[in-house]
């Protein structure tokens, strides 16, 4: 997904100005000339300058405002692209309830099948990877991965 530099520059300027306005709500330190707003303000000023430079450059180059990669014409690539954030959100939302093992097997199975891995391979790799990760992180490194539904048979 490529945007014209002018658009990116505009977004950066708008973002920086909004951020700088927000820093006005920061309190000042009594007896100090410089408060917690100083550093963000310096960063914001830098962003505005860079944004302006990008706008000038983008307008001068005169490229298309937005160009999608070759993948955008292909539905299957679009689905893949949405799938990655999708499975991550699915994990965040349901891992506490379903537990790590079940969620991970689902996520891996969906992705592997979607990426064209053979079914038989998928049904081996998804559980084996899950158990491997679970053993390394939950058993060896003692990360409290959620058990969820499997809590009664936790091992």
């Amino acid at each position: 997904m490529r945007f014209n530099d002018a658009i990116i520059g505009g977004v950066i300027i708008a973002f920086a100005l909004a951020m700088m306005l927000y820093t006005l709500t920061f309190p000042t330190m009594p007896g100090q000339a410089y408060g917690p707003d100083l550093f963000p303000l310096v960063i914001g000023a830098g962003m505005v300058l860079c944004g302006l430079a990008l706008v000038v450059r983008g307008l001068r180059a005169g490229d298309a405002l937005m160009a999608l990669g070759p993948w955008a014409e292909d539905r299957s690539h679009l689905i893949n692209l949405a799938l990655v954030p999708g499975v991550l959100l699915f994990y965040v939302g349901l891992s506490d309830f379903l537990g790590f093992v079940i969620t991970s097997v689902i996520v891996l199975t969906v992705l592997l099948l979607r990426f064209g891995v053979a079914r038989r391979t998928t049904f081996i790799i998804a559980p084996v990877t899950t158990l491997f990760i679970h053993t390394v992180f939950a058993k060896l490194l003692l990360v409290p991965l959620p058990w969820g539904l499997l809590l009664p048979i936790a091992w």
Binding site: F26, M29, P36, F39, P40, R60, G69, W71, L108
Partner: protein, 502 residues
Amino acid sequence: MDVFLEAVPLALDPYVLLIMLGAAVFGLFVGSIPGLTATMATALLVPMTFFMEPVPALAAIATTVAMAIFAGDIPGALLRIPGTPASAAYVDEAFNMTQKGQAELALGTSLVCAVIGGLFGTLVLATLAPVLADFALNFSSFEYFWLACLGLSCAVVVSTGSTVKGLVSLLIGLLISTVGIDIMAGYPRFTFGSVELMGGISFIPAMIGMFAISEVLRYVTTTEAPLAVPQQAIRSIFSGLGAILRRYKLNIARGSVIGTAVGILPGAGADIAAWIAYAISKRFSREPERFGKGHVEGLTDAGAANNAGLGGAWVPAIVFGIPGDSITAIVIGVLYMKGMNPGPTVFLNDPQLIYAVFIAFFIANIALLPLGFLAIRSSRQILRVPRNVLMPVILMFCVVGAFAINNTSFGIMVMLCLGILAYLMEENGFPVAPTILGIVLGGMLEQNFMTSMIKARGDFLVFFERPIAGVLGVVTILVWLMVIAGALRRGIKAKPEAEAAR
């Protein structure tokens, strides 16, 4: 010497050696797979190091990176695709040698030069870092402010693509570092009432997102055909190698020195070291016309340089806390996590730990010889691992790694957001490395900036009053002026061109 003797058992602990062996196999595997970089290997490794003692943690990172940077040469020579960006400089050269039937010679030369370069870089690191640290003990907030500015400016200047975009990338990183409780006044900035944002954006999920999730996103949108598996069988690697090493011993030495020096420069790492060493090799060669056509000479220079750069990059990272590249930025994050705050005092507080890491560095580079040999022998098997299996597995590791730092799903969200950000940035020509440097260095830069401003009472001249601070300040400003002058010159030039084009 006493410290050194204390350090030896720390580094030779069987547990540490076992971790290093695992890290080595991991590094060789990730480095040999095109699209998976040494930085990504480090990013995936850090969640594990989170649970280790400082010495095995840092030894694991050093080993992984040394192995991955060499292993990047393998697909470069066999498939003409660099496994990591550090191999890109001489990928054509190595592939042309393969086409002439000299794949073994190309890989053997790469391996031995990598070992020599890596050992040289480590030697410089181990001798130079303590001396520099002694010197740096006198630094105040002014010197650190300028050092951080200089390091970040260099990172922007040498980053790929346009300088403005590099600067934007850096500013994004610095802004991300300001999220959370402010260090001077204790005020929660940009937290929007979220308790989890109060602690700031943890650097590990951020880094996993920027270097691994973005790579997965790029994989799912790629329309390129899957990689071919190299056909040629690998025979004896070491035959004919002795003659080449003798003939080009000065090249190897030169590559090692250049690589280490470039690595020490803040902002430049192994990939730039390889490009510079290759260019210099061609420039001073007696047979420059043979370069690019499968001539081994450039390989000796650049193959030594990128591995030498790794040791060099640790010098500013450990001594000043200023990273030379994105990998050492991660190292600095790990040092902070381990309570070994980088800076000259690390040699006063925990010298035996640092020396143990240096020893581990030496061991890793020596172990590269046999392990690299095995990796070359099994390269066809490694390159046969299908990426549609690899990517979901990597994604799951990322999820658990991001979760493991605070044991909350918040880390996974941070990882996802920054992964999407990094993907969009790279698509639009914004380099990602400055962002990660900004996230890591932001807190230190702000603290030194605020301390200096308060000490100076707003008088900016005080920033130049101390001699070293003055020199550093002037150099930094010269770098800025050079960049601005270059941009203006190009701007004036570009205008008539653009008009002529219409």
